[in-house]
């Protein structure tokens, strides 16, 4: 491999994309720096329980990194914004809770079940990928609401009904924290791997112009489905871990629209369509939220809203996205 890692223009890419390709060349060192950064974050994350008695802040920080990165796989890379993203989170939480509480499954089995449930739901919802733009967003949101209603209407001994499920078999929170770190870093690693391979360019082509991408031979259907399944499965595992961590699941919390909204906001503030953006967005917003929330008990949401609005006004493409737009030379280092 040469010193310059290219996003490998292939026979499938259009001339227009081929002409733009040099802008998207990544310096090989930037990928290594990014991988080393992720390794460093993982090392720090692993050492947190040894130096801090509380891991909740970190647990949720890594959860939002995972969710923002998972959402970015779909919304950022293909341009499909799933407002019903919370459905995956909810189904994962419910699958893990049902297996753990009603079938006494150990943690690993509950997580396997949640992963399968997330993948299955992604397959069931796959026909919605035929829609585009706002229609897709609205339908995905509707399906999340329908799914929530189905869960509520199931018999209580199957899914807890409206009251939800309180998980009495207590799971080790530190182990769940480590698992969340692993899922989070895994989600970012997947996004990185996709971005630096030709698939990244193909996905960008789908996001820019679906019809054009299909005309030049990009397998848009297959790629979208793959991203949809990856995105949904990661969200389902996050839901499962969060459910086991908090030990209380109810339909309102598990299928809360805020799960979708926050994942979209965090990814967008960092930079939709970039790998680093969702990580930057999730980390900055979670830390900002924490600092504001502890210092301004009453006005914290108001201040947070102002910060989000200001960030969107000054960085309309997100922090990383706007940086790359204003300084294209950084594209060799930030992606």
């Amino acid at each position: 491999m040469s010193m310059v890692m290219q996003s490998a223009p292939s026979a499938e890419t259009a001339p227009s994309v081929r002409q733009r390709a040099p802008l998207f060349r990544l310096h090989r060192a930037s990928v290594w720096i990014w991988c080393l950064t992720l390794a460093g974050i993982s090392l720090i994350a692993v050492s947190i329980p040894a130096v801090s008695a509380g891991v909740s802040f970190w647990f949720y920080l890594f959860q939002w990194i995972a969710l923002a990165s998972a959402l970015n796989l779909m919304a950022g890379m293909t341009g499909y914004v799933p407002f019903g993203f919370a459905a995956f989170f909810g189904i994962g939480a419910y699958a893990a809770a049902v297996l753990s509480q009603f079938h006494h499954a150990p943690t690993w089995a509950a997580l396997v079940g949640a992963t399968a449930a997330g993948a299955l739901l992604a397959v069931l919802f796959a026909p919605t990928l035929r829609l585009r733009g706002v229609f897709f967003s609205v339908v995905s949101l509707s399906l999340a609401i329908v799914l929530r209603s189905v869960i509520v209407l199931l018999p209580e001994d199957v899914a807890g009904g409206s009251s939800g499920i309180t998980i009495t078999g207590r799971h080790d929170p530190i182990r769940l924290y480590y698992l969340m770190v692993a899922v989070s870093m895994g989600a970012v690693a997947i996004a990185t791997a996709i971005s630096v391979t030709p698939h990244g360019l193909r996905l960008k082509a789908i996001g820019d112009d679906l019809d054009a991408a299909q005309i030049i031979g990009v397998n848009a259907k297959g790629l979208r489905l793959a991203m949809w399944m990856l995105s949904g499965t990661i969200a389902a595992v996050c839901g499962a871990l969060e459910g086991l961590y908090s030990s209380a699941i109810d339909p309102a919390a598990a299928f809360n629209i805020l799960i979708s909204t926050k994942a979209i906001i965090y990814a967008a503030l960092g930079g939709l369509g970039t790998v680093m953006g969702p990580v930057v967005g999730a980390v900055l917003m979670t830390i900002t939220d924490e600092l504001i929330w502890t210092r301004f008990p009453i006005a914290n949401l108001f201040i947070l809203g102002l910060i989000v609005s200001a960030t969107v006004l000054f960085f309309p493409r997100g922090i990383v996205g706007s940086l790359l737009q204003r300084h294209p030379r950084f594209r060799r280092w930030f992606f």
Binding site: G54, A248, A252
Partner: protein
């Protein structure tokens, strides 16, 4: 930018970022403070979201308790009076925020013990943190039984009548009045559904029949079908566990279709929005935890009437004390007694004191009694019935009733002539 410059800059930024990011969020291990100057109690209140209104109702009563306790020099603990400090954080009614709130209270604020957040879901999420870190938690609005089946060691329900026990008084009253069939209509939300289920279970336990058990999604506006089904099942007591706005719609549709039931129970029957219906609200059964006319043999703190006087003095311009204010105040009265009795503020000592005092404290809403899990088995609700001209009477339990019930309640025609 040259590669070497970039790498150098990245390294510097990296170190700075890691240091700055981690520093404030690494929580030192919790340790009980020595040289105590006060008793620090942590709690969360929702500034927004589903629980904001109820949570803030409780907060007002807690502030009243705090003012009264500190006016007398604080709580007597280990032979010395300590002022009580309340450390409050916002949980935004968010289940994901609750664990962070309670970690912050424990590790940053170094509270000695905590009050639970409002609601069972948030309480369960917070209890995973407090119990693991051996911090005593006093629940004041934790109605779900399931929280006490988790195996938590240090949580106690000091204020609320659990959802499984709410129906006992109205169902037994119905049986005493000669009723035989109980039906439920619930919106598909946690507390509502759980309460409806408890009504059915309690009815069956008391040898009564269950007519219909209907559930609807929030936003539904046409209830005539399910009301007719309930009437066809010869329902004697219709339990509507829903929102007051939905109940108003149901009452209107009952009136329009002349559907009558001998008794209708709802948590909201004494809400101002229901009472505003005038004669249409006559006969409805509701619940309360306190009534100024009901004076239990209180041996701790004020009676209900005295509490309401104090509350109205502190908050002359409202909002009025409600069910959440009353249970919050009651649980704080009990908590004060527990702190004064416990040899230390460690969770095991506080829990032991809570168990020792079980059955020995009668506060404004009845006798405090818990089992080993901290589940409340003492407080009974009061069944209140609306009467003509905006009046209200306590009709159950029989021992504290202020009037005989209107049973069956007046029909729509009779109400129109009252």
């Amino acid at each position: 930018m040259k590669r070497r410059q970039f790498l150098k800059m990245s390294r510097g930024i990296g170190f700075l970022a890691v240091g700055a990011a981690i520093g404030p969020f690494v929580a030192p291990t919790h340790a009980q403070t020595s040289g105590r100057k006060s008793i620090r109690i942590g709690m969360s209140v929702a500034s927004t979201g589903t629980f904001a209104h109820d949570s803030q109702s409780g907060r007002r009563a807690i502030d009243l308790w705090l003012e009264q306790v500190n006016a007398q020099g604080g709580l007597l603990h280990q032979g010395q009076r300590y002022p009580v400090e309340l450390v409050v954080r916002d949980d935004r009614s968010d289940k994901q925020l609750a664990p962070r709130v309670y970690e912050s209270l424990i590790f940053d604020e170094k509270v000695d013990l905590v009050l639970a957040p409002y609601g069972s879901t948030l309480t369960a999420a917070a209890a995973t943190i407090t119990d693991r870190n051996d911090i005593f938690m006093m629940g004041w609005a934790v109605a779900a039984d399931s929280v006490f089946k988790q195996g938590y060691k240090y949580i106690v329900n000091g204020g609320t009548t659990p959802v499984s026990r709410v129906p006992e008084v109205p169902v037994q009253a119905l049986k005493r009045f000669g009723g035989k069939v109980v039906s439920t209509i619930a919106v598909d939300e946690p507390y509502s559904d759980a309460l409806a289920g408890s009504f059915r279970a309690t009815a069956e336990k008391n040898g009564l029949a269950v007519g219909v058990a209907e559930k609807y999604s929030r936003g539904a506006k046409d209830f005539t079908t399910i009301l007719n089904k309930a009437a066809a099942a010869k329902t004697d007591l219709l339990c509507i566990t829903s929102y007051d706005t939905d109940m108003i719609v149901m009452l209107r549709q009952m009136k329009e279709n002349d559907i009558n039931f001998p008794a209708i129970f709802s948590t909201f029957s004494q809400n101002s929005s229901i009472l505003a219906l005038g004669n249409d609200a006559i006969g409805l059964w509701g619940q309360s935890n306190i009534d100024p006319r009901v004076a239990y043999a209180v041996n701790l703190g004020p009676t209900a009437a005295q509490y309401l006087d104090a509350y109205n003095t502190k908050y002359p311009n409202g909002p009025q004390s409600d069910i959440n204010s009353a249970v919050a105040f009651a649980s704080l009265m009990v908590l004060g007694a527990i702190i004064e009795r416990a040899p230390s503020l460690t969770a095991p000592d506080l829990k032991a004191a809570a168990l020792d005092l079980s059955g020995h404290l009668t506060v404004l809403n009845g006798t405090y009694r818990i089992d080993e899990t901290g589940f409340q088995t003492g407080y009974d609700i009061l069944v209140i019935q609306n009467t003509a001209k905006g009046g209200r009477e306590v009709i159950a339990p029989a021992a504290v009733a202020t009037s005989a019930p209107l049973f069956p309640m007046p029909t729509w025609d009779q109400k129109a002539k009252m």
